[in-house]
């Protein structure tokens, strides 16, 4: 009898608890009819399931103002879609990739993740960490997005571009004039660059600023200089999978050119003991005349040194490949994770980021060009940024760092450039180093090598 009473009490308790524990979503419709018109229940945002989209991102570092823009964009979106809220986590440069890889291993983390272009995005498709977004975004939207090719693999698109990040050579017209160089006709060929170095040295100005201690600039130099004898990024992808050799002269020439710049005294002497940022500061503080820079920083530098001290040029040419005279540009962007419960909602938000109002607001907030051709170009008033926009849209070329294995970037480009500036390796040795690193990468990671081969096709 006693046990029967216990069982009945337990059942009664459960009967009370179950409705109390029900999800809030089931409660909303019960109240909704009184407030929402019966004809349009689907449109009534208050009735929709509450959704929280988590965004892990990076970008404030190279496009100051991005955070304010993103906060405003999320607020506007929530205003229009009250059931959708956001949690945005700004990652540091060093945690961006590790944090996402940990999340991918656990299949738990953001719904929307920031990615650099090319392999930085595609390798996450290979590990099923992100999903293709072609079907989630209206076809006519894609016509407006720039640099989409960086995120395409296996006939699908694995992300949405956000803003453009290009690599001009930035120079200080005042220092050029001081050295007897014409700021209106900056060096266009390699020989002219070497002459410019001599003239700048003669007036005690550091010709080109750099810092390679943290490695990153080594990758930039590879992308900026190694391209010139080649016609396509595929040449490097083929060499990485063993279909060509990095010891061939057309692949080692850039090491020789870099050595030439070093021997000619073009760089700051302390390049080996400075980080990239510290090298960049030499230019911004007026101590160096040129910088292999990034156009996302232009507006910020102008605040410090003024637009009148910023001139732009393409990398002086030494090669005759189709990549020799292009403007290196990549689109930083977004991907949607495979574990997200709300892929369509995430995609809708990415589309919202590309509405003309948001695209224009982006440019006004950051001074950085959006990866969308709907930007109102009348907003671009600075001639330097007009120049960048023209280069972006007429002669944009791939950032090679996005099309090679990250091991090659780190162990051959980063390390090789450091060795070159330390005086410890020759052009041939560095070509061999690159070849060896790629052979090792293929041996250690045959799956990735096979994926790279598919990517080339």
């Amino acid at each position: 009898m006693r046990s029967t009473i216990r069982v009945l009490s337990l059942l009664a308790l459960l009967a009370l608890l179950i409705p109390a524990c029900a999800a809030p979503a089931t409660e909303v419709p019960a109240e909704a009819p009184a407030e929402a018109p019966a004809e349009a229940p689907a449109e009534a945002p208050a009735e929709a399931e509450p959704i929280k989209l988590t965004i892990w991102w990076w970008g404030e570092q190279e496009a100051p103002g991005a955070e304010a823009w993103l906060n405003e964009t999320m607020a506007l979106y929530t205003e229009a879609n009250p059931n959708i809220t956001f949690e945005a986590v700004l990652q540091s440069t060093d945690t961006l990739i590790p944090a996402f890889q940990s999340a991918a291993a656990a299949k738990e983390g953001p719904d929307i993740q920031y990615f650099w272009g090319g392999v930085w995005t595609i390798e996450n498709a290979w590990t099923d960490a992100i999903i293709p977004v072609d079907d989630l975004i209206p076809a006519d939207e894609w016509d407006h997005y720039l640099n989409v090719f960086e995120r395409q693999y296996d006939g699908k698109t694995w992300g949405v571009p956000w803003y453009m990040s290009g690599n001009p050579v930035v120079f200080n017209p005042e220092l050029f004039t001081q050295a007897g160089l014409d700021p209106n006709a900056p060096p266009a060929t390699w020989d002219e660059l070497l002459v410019a170095c001599d003239k700048l040295r003669a007036v005690d100005v550091v010709p080109i600023a750099g810092g390679v201690k943290d490695g990153w600039f080594g990758g930039w130099l590879f992308s900026i200089l190694a391209r010139q004898p080649h016609d396509s990024e595929k040449a490097f992808m083929q060499a990485s999978v063993g279909q060509a050799s990095y010891t061939e002269p057309k692949f080692t020439e850039w090491w020789g050119r870099l050595q030439e710049l070093k021997d000619r005294g073009c760089w700051n002497e302390d390049i080996g003991s400075l980080d990239y940022q510290q090298g960049q500061d030499l230019f911004v503080t007026g101590k160096a005349a040129m910088l292999f820079g990034n156009d996302t920083f232009l507006a910020g530098w102008a605040e410090t040194m003024g637009w009148d001290k910023i001139g732009l040029m393409l990398t002086p040419q030494y090669g005759s490949g189709e990549l020799a005279d292009d403007y290196i540009v990549t689109a930083q962007g977004w991907g949607i994770t495979s574990w997200s419960d709300y892929p369509q909602e995430a995609a809708d938000f990415l589309v919202f980021m590309h509405t003309p109002d948001r695209v224009n607001a982006w440019f006004e907030a950051t001074g950085v060009l959006p990866a969308d051709d709907r930007l109102d170009t009348s907003l671009i008033t600075q001639p330097q940024l007009q120049q960048v926009y023209e280069w972006d849209t007429t002669r944009g070329g791939p950032n090679l760092e996005n099309f090679i294995p990250s091991m090659m970037d780190e162990q051959a480009n980063f390390a090789g450039v450091q060795l070159l500036f330390a005086g410890d390796a020759t052009r041939e040795e560095l070509g061999q180093l690159t070849e060896d690193v790629n052979a090792k990468w293929r041996e250690q990671n045959p799956d990735a090598a096979a994926n790279f081969e598919n990517w080339i096709e």
Binding site: G215, G272, Q444
Partner: protein, 290 residues
């Protein structure tokens, strides 16, 4: 009786379960991961294949070699800490201030220390400016940009930071030694050197052993911070260490299985020294008890 025999395990069970969950499970997972490799996106068992790959990787071998070179900091750190502790024990004027000053670096975060020394050791940094100013410009070097100097420079910083801990350990032990021992030696005519050799060092023996083992573990598996902040492993892998190699393999090159294999090796080597340290502590406790 049977019940009593198992009773302690019953009480220990919650803690054991917690320990297994927190430490045991990750270690087992790590070992399993180190024996697998993805093939067609699916992890397959490859036995010791990952370990074989590691020993063919010149960057890994360089990292191991650098860790071994870093072991050279251990005798220097221990010796320096010993000398400084002895001087402070002599109660030289202002010894309390010196003790605090020496211990201060140990309290500072490694990232902050690395950052400050990065600036000091730049080619155009404070040290070279100073050398130039005092007419010793010939000694100015590219401390962090040179492949031959970068590792010794990092070693210097490790010693600078770690020595304070040794000083405090040694000093604490010396202060607990009965003064009569020193007095007796002096009465017997021992000079300063003999006093240190026959009284101070024997009294410090167990603490020296402890600090030595701790320092070895530090340079084998706790130097990531120094290297990451000061050199990022460069120039050209000249300061690559196994911890940084694990980080790069796992998080930059997306090769978790190889990263796991290095971690297992690191765990084994460090485990040997941890075991050694525990044995020493056991011996020390026994010594004290007797």
């Amino acid at each position: 009786m049977q019940y009593r025999k198992h009773e302690p395990w019953l009480y220990l069970a919650p803690a054991l379960v917690m320990l297994l969950a927190v430490f045991g499970y990750p270690v087992v997972r790590l070992i399993i991961l180190s024996l697998q490799r993805p093939q067609g996106g699916v992890p397959i068992f490859v036995g010791l294949g990952n370990y074989q790959l590691l020993f063919r990787d010149d960057v890994f071998l360089q990292a191991v070699s650098n860790n071994l070179k870093l072991l050279l900091t251990v005798p220097v750190t221990v010796g320096l800490a010993l000398v400084l502790a002895v001087f402070l024990f002599e109660r030289i004027k202002g010894w309390r201030l010196y003790r605090m000053t020496l211990f201060l670096p140990y309290l500072l975060p490694i990232a902050a220390v690395g950052l400050v020394f990065s600036y000091i050791f730049q080619l155009s940094g404070v040290l070279n400016d100073f050398l130039n100013a005092v007419g010793a410009g010939a000694l100015a070097q590219d401390w962090l940009g040179s492949t031959s100097l970068a590792l010794p420079t990092v070693m210097f910083v490790i010693i600078w930071k770690e020595v304070g801990f040794g000083v405090v350990l040694f000093l604490a032990r010396l202060m607990s030694v009965e003064e009569e021992l020193f007095d007796a030696a002096r009465v017997d005519g021992a000079n300063w050197w003999q006093l240190q050799r026959h009284v101070t060092v024997p009294q410090l023996a167990t603490v020296i052993e402890f600090f030595t083992v701790i320092s070895i573990i530090t340079v084998l598996s706790w130097v990531f911070g120094y290297v990451f902040v000061m050199t990022s492993g460069g120039p050209g892998n000249a300061t690559m260490v196994t911890e940084l190699y694990v980080y790069l393999m796992g998080f930059r090159y997306n090769q978790m299985n190889l990263a796991a294999a290095v971690s297992v090796l690191l765990l084994l080597v460090t485990g040997v020294f941890i075991f050694l340290e525990l044995r020493l502590r056991e011996r020390s406790d026994l010594g004290l008890a007797s």
